[in-house]
C-alpha cells in the first residue's frame, strides 16, 4: 500500500528529512538571483549582497540553539562538524592532555573520529549505555581524568532517539573544566536546545535533518571560554580560518530559514510527532511479539526503533520495498549488512538487531501514513513468520 501519490510512506526522517517547501523556494530564488551569484567573501557590491544573505542566515542558525552568530562555523554537514570538534579540540590540546571520553553508541562520525585519535595514540574511554541506550552524568564524571581533553557525546541517539541529559553532563564537565562536545544532529530543530543552559563548549548539527538542504552544517563554538581548535582544512581565511572554502550562499540561506521555521514550529510539532510515534507503536501491537529498542523517554519525538523477533531483516526490507522507506538495524548507514553496534550495545543479539527497524517520523508525517505503515508492517511480518520453519520466532531473537 502506497500513499496517494503512489510513493512509499517515508519514515526515514532520521536519515534525511525532506526539504521544507518554503526552504526549497528560498533556495531556488537564491540559485536564480543574478544579484546573489558572487563569492560572499568578495569585497565588491555583489559579494556584499551575498555576504548579507549569509549574515542573516548565520543569525537564524545561531538562534536555533540560543547562540550568537559569531559562535557559528559553517561546515559541509554534521560529519564534518563532529570531526572538526573532536579532532580539532584534541589535536589542539597541550601535550599530555589528550584523553577523550565518548560512548559506544555514538554516530559513526564521532566513533570513527575517536578511533582515529586512538590510532594516533590518544587514550579513549568508551562508555557503555544502559539497556535503554543512555549514558549518565555519573558515568561521565567517573571517566574524567586530569588529562581529559574532551568529552564528546550525542544529544539524541540517531537509532534509538533517546536523549542524553546535557545539563547534568554539562555540569559534570564544567566542574572539572573539561570541554563538552555534543553531536546534536538528531535533536536540533526537533526538541528545544539552548547552549546557554547546558554550557556545552561545542555543538554539531546539520541542515538536512531539520528540513534544510544537504551539504551544509554548523559547529557552535562557545565564545567564553573559547575552546582551542585546530582546523581540518587550510586555505582562504573564511570562518575565522577554522573552515576555509567559498561559502555556499544558497545552502546557508536554506539552512537559516529551516532553522527559523523549526524554532517557530517546535512547540506545535514536538507533541504532534510524539503522539504519532506512539500511535505507530500502538498500531504495531498486532504484530506481537514486537519489542521497542531503547527507552521510550526522554527522547526526540520522531524515532521509534522496533524489533520483530524471528524476522530476517533483509527480507523485511524487501517486503516493504517501494511501500515503506525505513532503515534496517542491519544497515544503519549503508548496505553493509553488519548488525547495528548501537543495538548490540544495549544488549540485543545480532539476530534481533537485524530484525529491527528504525521508523522515523517528521514534519510531514500524517496519522494516515502512520496507520498505513503499521498495516504494511503487520502484513509483512506475519507473512514472513508464516514462511519460516516452526520454532524460528523463538530461536531467532
Amino acid at each position: 500500500m502506497n500513499t496517494a501519490a503512489g510513493r512509499p510512506v517515508y519514515l526515514d526522517y532520521a536519515a534525511s528529512a525532506p526539504l521544507e517547501p518554503r526552504v526549497a523556494e528560498l533556495m531556488c530564488a537564491c540559485l536564480r538571483d543574478p544579484a546573489l551569484q558572487a563569492n560572499p567573501s568578495a569585497v565588491h557590491r555583489p559579494g556584499r549582497a551575498a555576504a548579507a544573505v549569509v549574515a542573516q542566515a548565520r543569525a537564524r542558525v545561531a538562534a536555533l540553539i540560543g547562540a550568537g552568530p559569531e559562535a557559528i562555523v559553517f561546515t559541509s554537514g554534521a560529519t564534518e562538524s563532529v570531526n572538526l570538534a573532536v579532532l580539532g579540540t584534541v589535536r589542539a590540546a597541550p601535550a599530555g592532555r589528550g584523553h577523550v571520553v565518548t560512548a559506544r553508541t555514538e554516530h559513526r562520525a564521532g566513533l570513527e573520529a575517536c578511533r582515529e585519535l586512538e590510532r594516533a595514540g590518544h587514550p579513549v574511554t568508551w562508555l557503555r549505555p544502559d539497556a535503554g541506550g543512555r549514558i549518565s552524568a555519573a558515568q561521565v564524571g567517573a571517566a574524567l581524568r586530569p588529562d581529559t581533553a574532551l568529552v564528546s557525546l550525542m544529544h539524541a541517539n540517531n537509532e534509538l532517539g533517546v536523549l542524553t541529559d546535557l545539563v547534568a553532563i554539562g555540569r559534570a564537565c564544567a566542574e572539572r573544566d573539561v570541554p563538552l562536545h555534543v553531536d546534536a544532529a538528531q535533536s536540533a530543530g526537533r526538541v528545544p536546545l539552548d547552549v546557554r543552559e547546558s554550557g556545552v563548549a561545542l555543538l554539531s548539527f546539520c541542515a538536512h535533518k531539520l528540513g534544510g538542504p544537504k551539504g551544509i552544517g554548523a559547529l557552535y563554538l562557545r565564545r567564553r571560554p573559547r575552546p582551542a581548535l585546530r582546523p581540518l582544512l587550510f586555505g582562504g581565511g573564511q570562518e575565522g580560518g577554522l573552515r576555509p572554502g567559498t561559502l555556499a550562499t544558497p545552502l546557508i540561506a536554506g539552512f537559516g530559514l529551516a532553522c527559523e521555521i523549526a524554532v517557530g514550529e517546535i512547540v506545535k510539532e514536538e507533541p504532534r510527532v510524539r503522539a504519532l510515534r506512539e500511535r505507530l507503536w500502538a498500531g504495531l501491537q498486532p504484530a506481537a511479539p514486537v519489542w521497542r529498542n531503547g527507552a521510550a523517554e526522554p527522547s526526540v519525538p520522531g524515532i521509534l526503533n522496533v524489533c520483530f523477533p524471528g524476522i530476517e531483516g533483509e527480507s523485511l526490507l524487501f517486503a516493504l520495498d517501494g511501500q515503506l522507506a525505513a532503515t534496517s538495524g542491519s544497515a544503519c548507514s549503508s548496505a553493509s549488512g553488519e548488525p547495528s553496534p548501537v543495538l548490540t550495545a544495549i544488549g540485543r543479539s545480532e539476530l534481533a538487531a537485524q530484525a529491527s527497524l528504525r521508523l522515523s517520523l517528521g514534519r510531514h508525517t500524517t496519522a494516515a501514513e502512520v496507520d498505513a505503515a503499521a498495516a504494511l508492517l503487520i502484513a509483512a511480518v506475519q507473512r514472513l513468520r508464516r514462511a519460516a520453519p516452526p520454532g524460528a520466532i523463538e530461536r531467532i531473537a
Binding site: 524487501f318 520453519p389 524460528a392
Partner: protein
C-alpha cells in the same frame, strides 16, 4: 542489493510455502539451519510410486534464500531415487542471479534438500509399510 525479476516474483508469491496436507502417500522432510550464515530451510515432499509428487517449503533467510527455496520446491515433483537432485546451489545461483557473498546460504539449502532426498531414498528402499 540487486534482485532479479524472478527473485521479486517468487518472493512476492512464495509458491509452495507451507506444509503438505495429510493425504495419500508418505511425506518426508529435510531441514538445515545455520543462523550465522543467515539461512534456515525445511522441505517436505510427498512420495507416490517411487517419485516425489508434491513438495513444500518453509524458510527463514534473505529474499534470495526464500526465492531459491520456492524454486526448489517447484522442481522437486518428478524426482525419484537414484537420479540427481533437481537443483543444486550452483544452478540456483545462476538462475536467480544470487550474489557471490550469499552462496553460503544456498549451501544450507543444499543441505536441507539432500537431507530430504536421503529420507526419500531410504523410504523407497525400505519395505513398503515398514
Amino acid at each position: 542489493m540487486e534482485y532479479s525479476e524472478e527473485v521479486r516474483r517468487l518472493f512476492d508469491t512464495l509458491p509452495h510455502c507451507g506444509e503438505l496436507a495429510a493425504g495419500a502417500g508418505p511425506i518426508v522432510a529435510g531441514e538445515a539451519a545455520e543462523l550465522e550464515r543467515g539461512a534456515w530451510l525445511r522441505f517436505e515432499a510427498r512420495l507416490a510410486d517411487g517419485a516425489i509428487v508434491d513438495a513444500a517449503f518453509r524458510a527463514w533467510g534473505c529474499p534470495h534464500t526464500l526465492a531459491a527455496a520456492a524454486l526448489t520446491a517447484a522442481r522437486l515433483p518428478g524426482w525419484r531415487a537414484g537420479t540427481p537432485p533437481p537443483v543444486d546451489a550452483r544452478s540456483l545461483a545462476g538462475e536467480l542471479a544470487v550474489p557471490a557473498d550469499k552462496l553460503g546460504r544456498l549451501l544450507v539449502l543444499e543441505d536441507a534438500l539432500q537431507s530430504l532426498l536421503r529420507r526419500a531414498s531410504e523410504l523407497q528402499s525400505a519395505p513398503p509399510g515398514g
